[in-house]
């Protein structure tokens, strides 16, 4: 048992337990020393124990956890004692900040602040775009006839200047995965041994529950229900249980209540990027499963700001067309029978 690995992993044992294990190692060392050498076993024993105990205490305190993470270019080994210096990237930075999250190239630790890699020219569509879904083969999704009709209708309505309202336009939630496409601002990931939590500035929270099965009879929701399993350093996420008010992209790719998708998340590019490979399955609108790729870049220099809808001027909805039973958003009446 490696006490240090336990400190680092998501298992979060108490630090006392980690020390216990480290001390246990000390005793192993002591036994070894006794076997190898003669002399004063008692002295050697004490030295070994003292050294290991102190080392364990150091290893398992928070400051050390911060420092004992590999520098990007080296193989996992020496703790880096230099804070990561991030060069300013341009007008989108909001000033010089000390990174509050330490460098992290642990393969199975996605903690940090990330920014979706944004729109690329369509000739590089397979590398990931925002906007309409494009598969990793660089093609449109394999719509069924029904799916294609819906998609083209919505696309053309937008072209004509009368877009069909989607949930974002209605200030309603979207499928969390789609925030990678819809939201070009930074997002953040926290993780424990029971959950991986992805948070975006508008309040979208993708809660990926670890090591539990998908419940049966999920009540359909905007955000669906996601469960994840680690396969080595790849997080494999199964998502289903979606209601039918959302779209698969901002342009109108439809989905049914049977939508299910698997997202494989892993670090690439020496831990500087996250790759999301999502295979969508929805036989009503897509002839076969298809895979879409998104990536995000690690940006510890950025902070999450806040998006709170509070100014719903009518201009926001200008030209909007409401279909499928949707209504324009309206503020609440000023008087309500309900308790506030």
């Amino acid at each position: 048992m490696n006490g240090r690995r336990l400190c680092m992993s998501g298992l979060r044992p108490t630090r006392l337990l980690a020390v216990f294990l480290a001390a246990d190692q000390a005793l192993e060392i002591r036994s070894e020393l006794r076997r190898i050498g003669g002399g004063s076993g008692s002295f050697r024993r004490r030295v070994a124990l003292a050294v290991t105990t102190i080392a364990a205490a150091i290893v398992c305190t928070p400051a050390s956890l911060a420092r004992s993470i590999d520098s990007p270019q080296s193989a996992p080994a020496e703790p880096s004692r230099q804070p990561l210096v991030v060069e300013q990237k341009g007008p989108e930075d909001q000033g010089t900040v000390a990174p509050t999250l330490p460098p992290n190239t642990e393969p199975a630790n996605f903690e940090g602040i990330w920014k979706s890699d944004h729109v690329r020219p369509l000739v590089q569509a397979a590398l990931g775009t925002t906007g309409p879904l494009v598969t990793v083969e660089g093609t449109q999704p394999p719509y069924t006839a029904e799916g294609q009709n819906i998609f083209w209708h919505r696309m053309l309505m937008e072209q004509r200047g009368t877009p069909v309202a989607n949930t974002a336009a209605l200030y309603l939630p979207s499928i969390p995965l789609n925030s990678l496409s819809l939201d070009l601002e930074p997002f953040t990931i926290l993780q424990t041994n029971t959950q991986v939590l992805v948070l975006w500035e508008d309040g979208t929270a993708w809660q990926i529950y670890l090591n539990k099965p998908q419940p049966r009879n999920l009540k359909p929701t905007y955000r669906g229900h996601s469960v994840g399993l680690w396969e080595g350093a790849t997080l494999v996420v199964d998502s289903t249980g979606f209601n039918t008010r959302t779209w698969l992209d901002s342009h109108g790719s439809p989905h049914s209540g049977d939508l299910r998708f698997i997202t494989r998340i892993s670090k690439i590019n020496h831990g500087r990027q996250l790759e999301f490979l999502t295979t969508f399955d929805d036989p009503r609108y897509y002839r076969e499963p298809f895979t879409v790729r998104r990536t995000a870049t690690w940006r510890p220099d950025l902070h999450l700001l806040e998006v709170e809808i509070e100014n719903t001027r009518d201009e926001n909805n200008e030209g909007m067309v409401y279909e499928d039973g949707e209504q324009p958003p309206r503020p609440a009446a000023k008087r309500s029978p309900g308790e506030n």
Binding site: Q94, P132, Q140, L156, L184, E315
Partner: protein
């Protein structure tokens, strides 16, 4: 293949992300320069707004409603909630509304201290738009005769 190419041409002009209203409401093919006094600066989501009192040089004034970006976008383009205050004089370069009325979408703001700030109203900041490889403005209005009925792809 043909449908893919056709789709790609169509998509080239598509505006991604949370277009919660049609930006074709604003005419991106021309700009108007307005100089006036700020009546109100609404630093809000989903959009910020500048209510600008613009004199017509003949003793009359008109109040213009100019849409600009959400705060999280504006901040990343050098704005703060205090950039404009009631009473400030400012020059706004705007894309006017197609209906010709006193409203528009902000292209650039020139402050009295000389700073020029991006309007960021069209959601795709100008530096991102270059990467798009597409014009940062809205697509041209479709022909009056275009059909809404899509063609059925081959199975």
């Amino acid at each position: 293949m043909k449908s893919t190419v056709a789709a790609m041409i169509l998509l080239l002009f598509a505006l991604p992300a949370m277009s919660h209203h049609s930006t074709t409401a604003y005419d991106h093919s021309k700009t108007i320069v307005l100089t006036g006094t700020v009546k109100e600066f609404q630093w809000t989501n989903p959009h910020s707004w500048v209510q600008l009192i613009v004199p017509d040089g003949q003793g009359n004034t008109t109040e213009w409603s100019i849409e600009t970006g959400a705060p999280n976008l504006n901040i990343r383009h050098g704005w703060s909630r205090n950039t404009l205050k009631p009473g400030d004089k400012v020059t706004l370069t705007i894309y006017p509304h197609r209906d010709g009325g006193p409203h528009g979408s902000l292209a650039f703001a020139k402050l009295t201290d000389g700073r020029v700030l991006d309007g960021a109203a069209d959601f795709i900041p100008k530096d991102n738009a270059k990467e798009l490889g597409a014009p940062s403005s809205a697509p041209p209005a479709p022909d009056a005769g275009s059909r809404a009925t899509p063609t059925t792809p081959k199975p």
